[in-house]
């Protein structure tokens, strides 16, 4: 090789994380003996300001043309060290990462000697690879100053207005025929937040009248290709009547959540007067509550290990809101009917009858049940002659922060009763005569108790939208275990996806209240603005290249590429890569039967050199 290889190795203690289990000075001394290495040192934190300066200074001082950092993970730290190389005038692809933390010290905490040996091996492999690295260049792609926002709830509308106010063209797609999302079903907002419709109205009006926003109701995205700066989306009316092609620079996912139908839990499908939180809210909104004397809320119905593993964050506050609304206002919220010329309060919730049409419809739709339902006996209610007793069965009340917690205090002042249960002994809902009963275990008295109630409200969790998977596949972004959209980093990138140009906010990301959804929506708008304000993004440099002489046009690569980035040109019968689409995953290179495809920065020679170095370590 004609080039004079001058490798610098920087080994990180990562405080105790590596230094506590690996003999870092010994690894440093070993690195100095490896071919091509002209400099090696170790730092307490290579990622800190002084560590980065150490890299830059030594690139200059020792005229390094390859740099290795042996530390943690390239996932979080590669850009930082690459940046340092770049600042010292070295192409960032002449940098290579060796992970001696996750791959070594953290998994060998109890075998310091072996950990040190393995760290040496890893460094040796890195050095072998570094010698063969070549500089790479990134290209720039222009960004369309427009956005597609999917979902017309509070989060989606807030994001749309924010982007539109900044001067970007926004298309807001909502699958229902009305903007507003979950807020539409609310009777009131907690803690004097007022009428949800009064809150919603100005926002909806702003969205509808904004010159930079186009609203598409009863529509959904049906296809997507392209990439950040240049997405091409197909939006279709849900009835298939209209189709529209859009080119947008960025996409915000704000598809919201749905509520759990607690089937099989607490008599939900056995007794009429057992509802979930959403149904209760709808009844209040329609003023169709039955006569109530005693009401039970059961928290964590379906969540925290029952049907889903998570805590749904806001249902405690929502239940308290319900409890207080019953105590303060139940007279006003009761349904009335005229019987024999006299007005009477309805005795029961008529889920399957006309009066509560919405709920019945909802249940039917959600259960997708066509068969005739069995006529169920009604649960009678006690006369409403005074106060209503409300009991909240809970596994701890999750009213975090200031407002939620003060609201909880208010509920206690209003004499809402709180009874705690454990997942081992959950309350049982039954019926005795015309009354519902809740049988529960009294933790302090160590005895079983029974409470007669007129209505049971189950505090059910927010759930991921059923069509999230389809959408996530279209967007090529991941879902978490529970089906909500999974952000790029749980701590530091809460509204980003790993895929550039796509962002998430609101309950599509996980359970959240309105304030939190709005914050995330503004945040997503900020993140989406960045490439659009700049007007360009830098494309990936590590793409695949095709050796046309070897390519036979068999199309294996075309079939295996998950990003549609490589295809055989019908004229030349040779594979061609679209650089900006290529994510550098290497699937095509691995699949090519002729070995005609090479990954930049991960060539066969480079990988073989690493493997050979590893084999030498084993022999030695």
């Amino acid at each position: 090789m004609s080039e004079d290889i001058r490798i610098g190795v920087f080994i990180c203690h990562c405080g105790h994380n590596i230094g506590g289990f690996v003999d870092v000075p010994a690894v440093t001394e070993y690195a100095k003996t490896l071919p091509g290495v002209v400099f090696a040192t170790h730092n307490l934190y290579t990622c800190a300001d002084d560590g980065l300066r150490c890299i830059k200074d030594n690139i200059k001082e020792h005229n390094l043309n390859r740099v290795i950092v042996a530390s943690c993970t390239p996932r979080t730290h590669a850009p930082l060290f690459q940046g340092a190389c770049q600042e010292a005038g070295l192409n960032k692809y002449l940098f290579t990462f060796v992970n001696i933390r996750e791959h070594c010290s953290w998994v060998h905490m109890k075998e310091k000697e072996n950990a040190t040996k393995k760290a040496k091996d890893l460094v040796k492999m890195g050095v072998a690879r570094a010698a063969l690295l070549a500089p790479q260049q990134e290209s720039r792609v222009p960004v369309e100053p427009s956005s597609l926002v999917i979902g017309g709830g509070v989060a989606g509308m807030t994001a749309a207005v924010s982007l539109a106010d900044k001067g970007f063209q926004v298309t807001l797609v909502e699958k229902e025929n009305e903007l507003g999302g979950m807020v539409l079903i609310l009777y009131n907002l907690y803690d004097g937040g007022g009428d949800p419709m009064a809150m919603l109205k100005p926002l909806v009006e702003k969205v509808q009248s904004h010159p930079n926003i186009r609203v598409m109701l009863k529509s959904r995205m049906t296809a997507l290709d392209g990439y950040v700066g240049n997405f091409r989306a197909t939006v279709q009316r849900t009835d298939g009547s209209q189709e529209l092609q859009l080119t947008v620079g960025t996409i915000i996912v704000a598809t919201g959540a749905i509520d759990l139908m607690p089937e099989g839990l607490y008599g939900y499908d056995l007794y009429d007067n057992v509802l979930n939180l959403t149904e209760f809210e709808l009844l209040c909104k329609k003023k169709e509550l039955p006569k109530l004397k005693s009401v039970a809320f059961i928290q964590c119905a379906g969540s925290r290990g029952q049907k889903v593993s998570y805590c749904s964050r806001i249902c405690c506050t929502v239940a308290l809101k319900g409890a207080m609304k019953i105590i303060d206002n139940h007279e006003e919220l009761m349904g009335r009917q005229v019987v024999d010329g006299k007005e009477q309060v309805v005795e029961k919730i008529r889920v399957e009858e006309k009066a509560a049409e919405d709920i019945a419809d909802r249940r039917r739709r959600r259960r997708r049940m066509d068969e005739e339902r069995e006529e169920r006996p009604a649960a009678a209610a006690a006369p409403a002659d005074g106060g209503v007793e409300v009991t909240v069965f809970n596994r701890g009340i999750t009213t975090y922060g200031v407002d939620h917690e003060l609201y909880y205090n208010k509920a206690r002042e209003k004499r809402v009763r709180f009874v705690r249960f454990t997942p081992e002994r959950i309350p049982v809902v039954g019926r005795e005569g015309d009354k519902l009963t809740v049988t529960y275990w009294h933790e302090t008295l160590k005895t079983e108790r029974k409470l007669q109630v007129d209505m049971v409200v189950l505090s059910t969790p927010q759930m991921a939208q059923p069509d999230s998977r389809e959408l996530s596949q279209m967007l090529k972004v991941p879902l978490g275990q529970e089906g909500f959209f999974l952000e790029a980093h749980v701590k530091l990138r809460p509204v980003d996806f790993a895929t550039d140009g796509i962002f998430v906010c609101g309950t599509a990301h996980g359970p959240a209240d309105i304030t939190e959804s709005v914050e995330q929506a503004e945040a997503a708008a900020s993140r989406a603005s960045i490439p659009m304000m700049r007007g360009y993004v830098q494309a990936e440099a590590l793409t695949s290249t095709v050796n046309s002489d070897l390519c036979t046009g068999c199309r294996t690569c075309e079939f295996t590429c998950p990003y549609s980035a490589i295809a055989v040109d019908p004229k030349t019968q040779k594979a061609v890569v679209t650089d900006v689409l290529c994510k550098g995953c290497g699937t095509c290179a691995a699949g090519c039967p002729r070995g005609a495809i090479t990954m930049r920065h991960y060539t066969s020679q480079q990988i073989e050199a690493e493997i050979k170095a590893f084999a030498e370590c084993r022999e030695a």
Binding site: C14, N17, Y310
Partner: protein, 463 residues
């Protein structure tokens, strides 16, 4: 960056002319700064301590992934400091704000470090030679530092400061060792505090919180019983870069504990001490600390005394279940107070189970003391002309639909200073406040352009 300059067009052009002040260099302020700077605006990030990073820089790991806190934050701190559009002003505070949205004039007091920031390389040779030792406030008194110091190992910028209260050169005109040691001539004992004036269109307030001092709540014995710790102290002693190098040791005898109790809601959900609210992070950080203690030592037994376990974030409840299942963490639903076994300084936790009072001896107690607004909030609120809530958090104009806006146009909120929030919420709020600041810039630039056009038209008409 090696990329060539490209002049943005359209909406980006206005923001590229924008200037924003961010007050507070914690994770919320850093995120707000990075978003604005990446979008093209010029940012002044004012931080009162000598380093950016905020509280996150002091934590050992972060829930619910147990990611090393400083490891994920350090790259952001470095990005922020190195960003061509961000001007980081450490050891500084905002002392005056005049004007209105779109044209604020801000006066900043830059406290002297007695060090030329451009010259100091952070080699720390001066620190080694400095003869004056003082309790390290950045380790909450658990360690010592010198009178010339960096606040913590990963500080950004890595520039030393001289502590004017303890340096014997500055107080008694003796010593002068650091000046002699410094090969770069960075030490300047004559350096004065300076006032700077900047003009910005928008201001973001992200000054964070401070832990509440539980000394006054005598029932926990903090300050009287040596082996009772606050949560942030515990974060430092399990941290590899902390004062004990990551060894969990008792204050009384240096022995490592085998049995640790964590007490929740210390000073929070307690109207008697003025904090009826929930700090919203303690359930999770205590769970994390119990898990980490077990990771340090296989035989560690941890018990968490709680009122309600609030595991409401993404992956939080699963995290607690994992703590119970895989780390043997015991959760006891009870209020708890602390007494002490005088013979061995073991704290004794007194609690109730099923109406019966129990006493249990532990080797160490960690208090989940609440996090409260900074004492300086009051003063800053006055300078900025914006209101606080009854608990001294900065007050939102509209809690529901505009949580980051304040009653004063052009001033926005992010992070814990506006109410309890965990790290991802602070980050989201940082971005959200940045978005609102961009709106102010866009709005005033459009107004400016409109005005300019009108002036132009008037001129043409008169000509």
């Amino acid at each position: 960056m090696s990329t060539e300059e490209v002049k943005p067009k359209g909406p980006g052009a206005a923001v590229a002319e924008g200037r924003v002040l961010v007050i507070g260099g914690g994770v919320a302020g850093i995120q707000a700064s990075l978003d604005l700077a990446d979008a093209g605006a010029q940012v002044y990030l004012v931080e009162k301590s000598p380093s950016i990073g905020g509280w996150m820089a002091f934590l050992d790991k972060t829930f619910p992934t147990n990611d090393c806190s400083i490891c994920i934050l350090a790259p952001k701190m470095a990005d922020c400091f190195g960003h061509p559009n961000i001007n980081v002003l450490t050891s500084s505070k905002v002392i005056g704000v005049k004007g209105e949205a779109g044209k604020f004039t801000v006066t900043i007091l830059r406290k002297s470090r007695f060090i030329d920031e451009e010259k100091c390389t952070g080699c720390l040779e001066c620190v080694e030679k400095c003869p004056t030792k003082v309790p390290n406030e950045f380790e909450f008194g658990l360690g010592i530092r010198k009178a010339i110091y960096i606040p913590f190992m990963q500080a950004v910028p890595r520039v030393v400061s001289i502590d004017r209260e303890h340096c014997i050169k500055l107080t008694k005109d003796k010593c002068g060792v650091c000046e002699k040691t410094c090969k770069r001539g960075a030490v300047d004992y004559e350096m004065k505090d300076q006032e700077a004036e900047i003009k910005v269109q928008a201001i973001i307030v992200a000054i964070g919180f401070e832990p509440w001092d539980p000394t006054t709540s005598r029932e926990y014995g903090y300050g009287r019983y040596p082996n009772v710790y606050t949560a942030i102290e515990f974060e430092r002693i399990i941290n590899a870069s902390g004062p004990t190098g990551g060894h969990i040791q008792r204050r009384s005898d240096g022995q490592r504990p085998r049995k640790i109790a964590y007490i929740q809601c210390v000073g929070s959900r307690n109207p008697a001490v003025g904090h009826p609210y929930c700090c919203s992070v303690c359930c999770m950080h205590s769970t994390k600390e119990a898990m980490l203690a077990r990771e340090h030592h296989d035989d560690m037994e941890s018990t968490i005394f709680y009122k309600d376990m609030r595991t409401f974030g993404k992956g939080f409840n699963e995290y607690m279940e994992r703590a119970k299942r895989d780390y043997g963490v015991r959760y006891v639903n009870s209020d708890a107070t602390v007494e002490e076994n005088k013979d061995n300084h073991n704290p004794i936790v007194v609690y109730d189970v099923a109406g019966k009072s129990e006493r249990e001896e532990f080797d160490m107690v960690v208090l989940a003391n609440t996090l409260i607004p900074r004492a300086s909030s009051q003063e800053l609120a006055q300078v900025l002309g914006i209101p606080l809530t009854e608990f001294s958090f900065f007050k939102s104009k509209d809690r529901i639909l505009h949580p980051t806006d304040t009653s004063r146009d052009g001033i926005f909120l992010a992070g814990y200073c506006a109410g309890p929030a965990d790290i991802p919420e602070c980050v989201a709020q940082g971005s959200a406040a940045a978005s609102r600041a961009m709106d102010i810039i866009t709005h005033h630039s459009a107004k400016g352009a409109h005005a300019a056009k009108e002036t132009h038209a008037t001129k043409e008409a008169s000509a």
